[in-house]
C-alpha cells in the first residue's frame, strides 16, 4: 500500500556499525532527491542487544517504520539477527546478509548452541538471498572493520540510485582517515 516507497531494514547486534550504515543510506537517498525517513531504537544497543534500523524512501514517506511484512530488502549484519527480522519482509523480498555469527549470552554460557542451518532457512523462504563474507572482502579492501560498507555496497546494487550519490554520502559521513578503505569496500560490495 506504500506505493512507490522502498523499505529497507538493517539489522544486527549493537556495536556493529548499523547506525552509521543506515545514516549513509538515508543521506544517499536525500542526495538523490527522495523523501526519506529512518527509525531505530537505540536505548540499549550499546550493550550488545539486537538492533533494527528502518530506512524508507520514495516521493513522500509517512511512517518512519516499515509496516510489518512490507520490507523490500533485509540487510543483515549477523545471521541470527537476520533470521529474527524475516517476518518484517514481504514475500519475495531480498535478503543480503553478512556471513557472521555473534553468540548471544545464552550461547556464550553454554546453555544452548548457536542455531544451525540459518542460511538454508533464509534461502528456502527468500530465494533472492545473497550471503556475503563481509569480513574477508573488507580485509581485501584494507580493514576488516569496513565489513558493513561492503554490505552497503552489495545492497546499493539492488537500489536504483546512481553511484555518485553513494560516494558523496560516504564522503560526507565517513571520517577522512577511513574514507579510502570504505570507498574500496563499498565498490567491492557493489560488484557482487
Amino acid at each position: 500500500m506504500s506505493g512507490q516507497i522502498t523499505n529497507i531494514l538493517l539489522v544486527g547486534v549493537g556495536g556493529q556499525g548499523i547506525l552509521l550504515a543506515s545514516e549513509v543510506l538515508s543521506e544517499t537517498c536525500m542526495l538523490a532527491g527522495f523523501d526519506v525517513k529512518k527509525s531505530e531504537i537505540h536505548g540499549m544497543s550499546q550493550r550488545g542487544g539486537s538492533v533494527v534500523s528502518h530506512v524508507r524512501y520514495g516521493k513522500e514517506v509517512f511512517s518512519p517504520i516499515v509496516p510489518e511484512g512490507e520490507g523490500d530488502i533485509l540487510f543483515g549484519f549477523e545471521l541470527m539477527e537476520t533470521c529474527r527480522s524475516l517476518p518484517l519482509l514481504k514475500q519475495g523480498g531480498t535478503v543480503v546478509a553478512n556471513d557472521l555469527r555473534i553468540a548471544p549470552p545464552s550461547v556464550l554460557m553454554g546453555l544452548e548452541p548457536y542455531p544451525e542451518g540459518l542460511a538454508e532457512n533464509i534461502k528456502a523462504q527468500f530465494p533472492d538471498f545473497l550471503l556475503v563474507d563481509g569480513q574477508k572482502l573488507a580485509s581485501e579492501a584494507g580493514n576488516a572493520r569496513a565489513a558493513n560498507t561492503v554490505l552497503l555496497g552489495a545492497v546499493s546494487k539492488r537500489l536504483e540510485i546512481a553511484e555518485k550519490y553513494w560516494v558523496q554520502a560516504l564522503e560526507k559521513m565517513v571520517p577522512q582517515k577511513a574514507l579510502e578503505v570504505n570507498k574500496r569496500a563499498f565498490l567491492l560490495g557493489r560488484s557482487l
Binding site: 500500500m1 506504500s2 547486534v13 549493537g14 545514516e23 538515508s26 543521506e27 536525500m30 523523501d35 526519506v36 525517513k37 529512518k38 527509525s39 531505530e40 531504537i41 537505540h42 536505548g43 540499549m44 544497543s45 550499546q46 550493550r47 550488545g48 542487544g49 539486537s50 514517506v61 509517512f62 511512517s63 518512519p64 517504520i65 509496516p67 510489518e68 511484512g69 512490507e70 541470527m80 539477527e81 533470521c83 529474527r84 527480522s85 524475516l86 517476518p87 519482509l89 514481504k90 514475500q91 553468540a103 548471544p104 549470552p105 545464552s106 550461547v107 556464550l108 554460557m109 553454554g110 544452548e112 548452541p113 548457536y114 542455531p115 532457512n121 523462504q125 527468500f126
Partner: protein, 584 residues
C-alpha cells in the same frame, strides 16, 4: 538548506533558531540527544542538572530573568519535576519556556509507559505534539512564541519514534531582536503565596479557554478532508501511520493536543460519516471528544498498552495482513554489562552472599539478569535506599542483615541522597553500595556532578562521595576495588553484619568513558587450555568476552576473546585451577 535530522536534533535546532539562551536537562532515553545537540550551538548555555526538578528550576529562573529556556526530560522525569511544574503554570513566564517530555510507549528503555499528555491537562499547560522532525523544529519555535503570547510554559511531547526517527528538515537562521534579559521585580506574578496564587488561578483558566478557542485557527491543527466516509482524529507519529495505512481517510491532525480545539473537532465530526481517534496509550483525546457528546471509536478497537505500528492499526481496522514468514525459534539477545564493567564483580559477590538487593536504575540494573541474578527490586531512580530502609523496618533481625541497596553515582546524586539522609536520621540500618563509575553510563555516558566535567566539557569540581556520606552522618564508609573479588566480598560481608547504616563505594570507572586517562585497559587474559578442567565457574559472571566452546577437549573449554577482554581480572580470580592467565 536541508538536512536529515532526528526529532531530538531538530528540537535542538528549533531552540537555536528560536533564540533560546538556556537549555537544561537530566538525561533519559529517548530525550538525551536534545542537550547533546544544543551544546553544539555556542549561543545556548547547555547543562546537565543533577535531576529533572533542578533542570526545570534552572529553566524557570532563566525564563523569569527574561531569556528563552528549553528544559528536556524523559516521561518519568516529569514526575520528578512535577512540583515546580504545577506552580509554574500559575506564574507563567517572562522569556518563553518549553518543556520537552519524551514519552516511551512500548517501554523500549523505560520502567513504565505513562502517558504524559495527562500532565498537560492536570497542570493546565498547553501541549504540542510533532509528527516528524520538521515539525519538531517548528513546534519548538512555536512553543516559545505561544509561551510568551499566552504567558504559560509550553510542553512539547515526543515519543520514542519521533525522538529517534530521522527525516528531512529545512533549516532557518536564528531569530534576532528578542528583548535582552534583565531583572524585573514582579512579586504578584512570581511569588506564589496564597494571596497571589488565588489571583493567578483564574488567569490560568482563562488562558486555557482562549487557547482552546484560538486552536481552531492555529496552523498546527489541520483538517484534511479526503473520503468523508471515515474521519480520524490523530496526532504525533500516529498521524503518519494513519496516512500510511488508511490513505483515503479524512484526518484532523492535531499539533496542539491540549487544550483541544473543540470547535474544529465539532466541525470535523459533522463532515465525516464515521469518526475515530487513533492515539497511543490512554484514550486522552477520545474521552474529551466523547465528553463533547460526539460518538467516536477509539480504544474499542485499538490497544491501550504498547505503541501503535502500521501493522497494529491495520489489524484494528480489519485490513488484510501480508502473508507471514517464520523466523524459527532463536535464542534471545538481551543487553549485557560490557566486558570489564566494574559492576559485575559486585553483583557476583552479592549473589554469593545471598543478599536481598533493593535495586535502582542504571546499567547495574542488568545485575538482575542471570547468571548474576542479584537484584530483587527496582522501581524508580533513587528508590533503592528508601526501599532498603523500609524493608529493614519490617523483617526479622536475621533477615535485615541481608538487605543491601545498590545505586549508581548519577542516581545517588539524582534522588538517592535524601534516602540516605533518612536512613541515618531515623536510626534505621542497611548497607548501601554506591557504584561510582564516574559517569551516567546507561543513557550514553553523560557527565554528572561526580565526573569532574560539565556538558560543555569544562573542568569542574567533582563530588567526594566519602565526604558527602560522612556529612550525612554515615559512620561506616568503605571504598573498594570492585575488580578485587575477595576484598569486595569481605567488605560487603562485614558491613552487612553491622546493625548500623554503612556505605560501600566502588571506585573503578566505566569502560566506555572516552576521556583520556579515566578508563585504562589492562592486559588481556587467556585460558590455558591444558589447565582448564571444564568446571565452567568463569561463566558465572556472564562476561561477554568469555565463551564456552563445547567442542573443545572432552567436555568443552572456556575461551576468552582477546578483542573483547579488558583485563579486569575478575574471571582470573574465580579460576581455582589457575587456568586463566595474563596474555604475554
Amino acid at each position: 538548506m536541508k538536512e536529515i535530522l532526528s526529532g531530538n536534533e531538530a528540537i535542538a535546532r528549533g531552540a537555536f533558531e528560536a533564540g533560546c539562551r538556556v537549555a537544561c536537562a537530566y538525561p533519559g532515553t529517548p530525550s538525551t540527544e536534545i542537550l547533546e545537540n544544543t551544546v553544539n550551538y555556542k549561543e545556548i548555555d547547555s547543562s546537565w542538572a543533577p535531576n529533572e526538578k533542578v533542570a526545570l528550576e534552572v529553566g524557570i529562573g532563566a525564563s523569569f530573568g527574561g531569556g528563552r529556556a528549553l528544559v528536556t526530560m524523559k516521561h518519568v522525569g516529569v514526575n520528578v519535576a512535577a512540583d515546580p511544574l504545577f506552580t509554574l503554570s500559575y506564574t507563567g513566564v517572562n522569556g518563553g519556556l518549553v518543556l520537552v517530555t519524551a514519552d516511551d510507549p512500548e517501554m523500549h528503555s523505560s520502567q513504565n509507559e505513562q502517558d504524559n499528555r495527562n500532565y498537560a491537562k492536570f497542570a493546565k499547560i498547553p501541549m504540542l505534539e510533532p509528527s516528524d522532525s520538521q515539525e519538531c523544529k517548528e513546534f519548538t519555535r512555536l512553543g516559545f512564541e505561544i509561551s510568551e503570547q499566552y504567558d504559560t510554559p509550553v510542553m512539547l511531547r515526543t515519543t520514542t519514534r519521533i525522538s529517534h526517527s530521522k527525516s528531512i528538515v529545512e533549516l532557518n537562521d536564528r531569530v534576532t531582536g528578542l528583548p535582552e534579559p534583565k531583572l524585573v521585580k514582579n512579586a504578584a506574578k512570581l511569588v506564589m503565596l496564597p494571596g497571589n496564587a488565588r489571583v493567578r488561578h483564574p488567569l490560568v483558566e482563562e488562558r486555557m479557554v482562549n487557547l482552546a478557542k484560538d486552536g481552531a485557527t492555529m496552523a498546527l491543527n489541520r483538517l484534511e478532508l479526503r473520503n468523508p466516509a471515515m474521519g480520524i482524529i490523530t496526532s504525533g507519529v500516529c498521524y503518519q501511520y494513519v496516512r500510511e495505512v488508511l490513505p483515503e481517510a479524512s484526518t484532523l491532525k492535531l499539533g496542539m493536543i491540549h487544550p483541544l480545539p473543540t470547535e474544529l473537532i465539532r466541525e470535523f465530526a459533522a463532515k465525516v460519516e464515521k469518526l475515530y481517534v487513533v492515539e497511543e496509550l490512554d484514550p486522552f483525546i477520545e474521552e474529551q471528544v466523547k465528553s463533547l457528546g460526539i460518538t467516536v471509536i477509539g480504544k474499542d478497537i485499538l490497544p491501550v498498552c504498547g505503541e501503535l505500528t502500521p501493522g497494529r492499526i491495520r489489524n484494528a481496522f480489519g485490513l488484510p495482513e501480508p502473508a507471514a514468514t517464520v523466523a524459527g525459534k532463536l535464542p534471545g539477545r538481551p543487553p549485557n554489562m560490557c566486558p570489564g564493567c566494574p559492576h559485575r564483580g559486585v553483583f557476583f559477590a552479592l549473589n554469593q552472599l545471598k543478599a536481598y538487593v533493593t535495586g535502582d536504575i542504571g546499567c547495574y540494573t542488568l545485575g538482575f539478569m542471570p547468571p548474576l541474578s542479584a537484584m530483587d527490586t527496582c522501581v524508580c531512580m533513587g528508590a533503592s535506599i528508601g526501599m532498603a530502609t523500609g524493608v529493614s523496618k519490617v523483617v526479622s533481625e536475621e533477615e535485615r542483615k541481608r538487605v543491601v541497596a545498590v545505586i549508581g553515582d548519577s542516581t545517588f546524586l539524582h534522588t538517592g541522597i535524601n534516602g540516605l539522609m533518612d536512613m541515618v536520621y531515623n536510626n534505621s540500618s542497611a548497607t548501601v553500595v554506591i557504584l561510582d563509575n564516574r559517569i551516567t553510563a546507561m543513557t550514553g555516558r553523560q557527565d554528572n556532578p561526580a565526573s569532574g566535567f560539565t556538558l560543555m566539557d569544562d573542568p569542574t569540581h567533582n563530588i567526594d562521595f566519602p565526604l558527602l556520606c560522612k556529612s550525612l552522618g554515615v559512620k561506616h564508609i568503605r571504598v573498594v576495588n570492585p575488580f578485587d573479588l575477595e576484598q569486595t566480598r569481605r567488605v560487603l560481608q562485614e558491613e552487612m553484619a553491622r546493625p548500623e547504616p554503612s556505605v560501600i563505594i566502588t571506585d573503578k570507572p566505566c569502560v566506555l568513558v572516552k576521556r583520556e586517562g579515566v578508563f585504562v585497559k589492562g592486559v588481556e587474559l587467556v585460558v590455558e587450555v591444558d589447565k582448564c578442567t571444564s568446571c565452567r565457574v568463569c561463566l558465572k559472571i556472564g562476561c561477554p568476552a568469555i565463551e564456552w566452546r563445547p567442542a573443545e577437549g572432552k567436555k568443552g573449554k572456556a575461551y576468552i576473546d582477546p578483542l573483547l577482554c579488558t583485563g579486569c581480572d575478575v574471571c582470573r580470580q574465580l579460576c581455582k585451577f589457575e587456568a586463566i592467565g595474563r596474555a604475554k
